[in-house]
Subunit: 448 residues, 2 copies
Amino acid sequence: MPVADAVRRDRSATAETHSRFAEMSEFWAWLAERREASPYHIETVGLDRLDAWHREPNSADLVHRSRRFFAIRGLRVSTDHRKVTGWTQPIIDQPEVGILGILTHTFDGIPHYLMQAKMEPGNINGLQLSPTVQATYSNYTGVHRGAAVHYLEYFLDRGRSRVVYDALQSEQGAWFLGKRNRNMIVEASGDIPVHENFCWLTREQLVRLLREDNLLNMDSRSVLSGITGETHSTDNGPALHSTTQLLSWLTETRSRYRLDRQVIALSALDGWVSSPDRIRRDDGRFFEIIGVDVTATHREVSRWSQPMLAPCGRGLNAFLGRRIADRFHLLVQARTEAGTFDVVELGPTVSCIPDNYRALPPDRQPRFLDVALAAGPGQVLFDAVHSEEGGRLYHAENRYLIADVGEGFPLDVPDDYLWITPAQLAGLARYGNVVDVAARSLLTCLAL
Amino acid sequence: MPVADAVRRDRSATAETHSRFAEMSEFWAWLAERREASPYHIETVGLDRLDAWHREPNSADLVHRSRRFFAIRGLRVSTDHRKVTGWTQPIIDQPEVGILGILTHTFDGIPHYLMQAKMEPGNINGLQLSPTVQATYSNYTGVHRGAAVHYLEYFLDRGRSRVVYDALQSEQGAWFLGKRNRNMIVEASGDIPVHENFCWLTREQLVRLLREDNLLNMDSRSVLSGITGETHSTDNGPALHSTTQLLSWLTETRSRYRLDRQVIALSALDGWVSSPDRIRRDDGRFFEIIGVDVTATHREVSRWSQPMLAPCGRGLNAFLGRRIADRFHLLVQARTEAGTFDVVELGPTVSCIPDNYRALPPDRQPRFLDVALAAGPGQVLFDAVHSEEGGRLYHAENRYLIADVGEGFPLDVPDDYLWITPAQLAGLARYGNVVDVAARSLLTCLAL
């Protein structure tokens, strides 16, 4: 064996020892060490104090001086698929497609997933577990192609890995205008070096960490939904509806409803107040646009500032489910949001910020919200609080709840709802832009 | 039996006798009779002479005075997925989703499909065979919901039929801006009255009629591709690529390429000449926008005029195919057109108007065009000329060609091409906006 190879193998073995965990306590120690070694400081500041960001002269849109990254613009929405049929709002405009990729490798017969402890400015908890790779197209097509992003080559070069899952998926339609990322899981063999801040976790370990609040980040939960289908693929018992019927229902909702959008000036919004400091609703609902200053080690850039979207209150993403003919089914909802790519996507039974509706009479509240909030301990299959994307969203938390409401719950549901098995939902998610980010997260929480 | 029922059953039996054919000669006699009974007159006229259509004051866009139907507008396109990376062109803007539906029913154990002999102003041959229902959303949501369109109730009311196929599908991206129609096949039982101009055809009869030039219209070919999957669904032998790999390739092309569009004034086009009479390219290539006056019986309106898009020359839609590991595979191409809904769709190996490229050197011609044009009699699996949508396109003909180029043809193909079995292509087509209209037509020609 040449010396160089021996040295590499030795380093690799050492790294592996530190990056795989026989006991969860080892993981917690590793994470604590990573948190210690990755100091950061986040401060909220006025929008007028953001370095390198400015308001465009005519529109007052918030843009970066390089014209890259993203922008905060205005959107006028008109739809016949919401209680409120027309409104304006700020929206995050980020047309660039990124890769969110998780690398998998089998050690001792057990598949492991390579996760990254990463700080994002909007994170509660600072470091959360991200996918192996989070990279925008600019990251990997510029002059430094691949050099700056660890493991990117496994996702770009089909000769280096086998694709397990690869779909173009949406993010929150309420906040992003048609934003999509390529969600990938690829399997590689051979020696894989483990860089600082990365570790290998088994599926069983990931399942345990999903029960922890604010640890597995949104991108991780979204990508991991791509392996939930594997578990269920042999589960061919009778579902209430055939795939043909599911697709027909999706086609019908996409044909029936209308979603018209127009990008407008951020200065032209109705019901929103723009101060030098922030942009918010005059009634304090929904969300605010604020600024943050970030100082961090372990990021490509150690200091920057940026606008962020901060939701007003904790959200609830809940699936109600029940057994039908001995198969567990979930109640999905065909949802239209401001930024939805193609009119509707399939979301959880309930998806809202409950505080926004507290003052309203019951008939103006989201359907099934009362059922979800009343779910008792005997019904709850999953219940944890998770964060949404910390690169654009500030302290955006949602409670993720899955409740078995029992066979007394009526099978007959309104037009916009449909009973579907987790395996069917995972099957539809393979096609992209069909299952929304909240439903994909819940699928991971339920079926991983 | 009550008298009314007896009469109805009797009428129905009589209608069935006239509307099903034991011999093809009976069909031809029926069609000749229908042509005789449905006189029409089409005349091309100058755009400035169109009744109820005008040029908008600032943009010169061609619009109907009711603001309904469709409009001809300008489009500026920028993409990195074509040899020419930027251009402007006129485009048909018709955002409304319609239903294209075929009703199926089993007589004597044999599935039959209810087809309609229908005149469209752009048709070569006048009457062609259309789906059971061609209806826009306005047709069936207005005050006269369902009344005006025969058989529409079978497609709108899930209690009256079983869905076989239901997908939102694209039309030609080169000519339409993201136009989509709901393609449906539904099965009904019980007595189904047969109205004038409708007839029941078996799959075998449809296959024979597909070999006739300009008879089964574009909408019929598109919808019928929905049953090609049924034939192949048991065909589970090894394909070159798994479904996961196919979806990954589609995801990669949709992530890699960029397609930016901007609707602009029809008066702002480069390289196009607008006269009071027509709109055409200064070099005579691609297509023209012309006007027609129509007089017809058997249509809801007996006289109208409208603009139409007239392609300059006959097109070629060709699939090259070969056996790989004993399975026949087709070579699909990831194509980006001006109006493509989501960056790319899977099209035939070759799709172009050959005359547009005759004067160009070989390296500027579409790839594999030479192979397709050179296909000999021993290689040709299908070869017929069919019309495209006759409601908006005037005498738009394409040669539909499927050639088995043999196992000497290289397996290794450029990035934008992929080998796929007909069953896999039919499977992808179920999801909508994945397989383009030319490839769906060819799938019907090959696999019905």
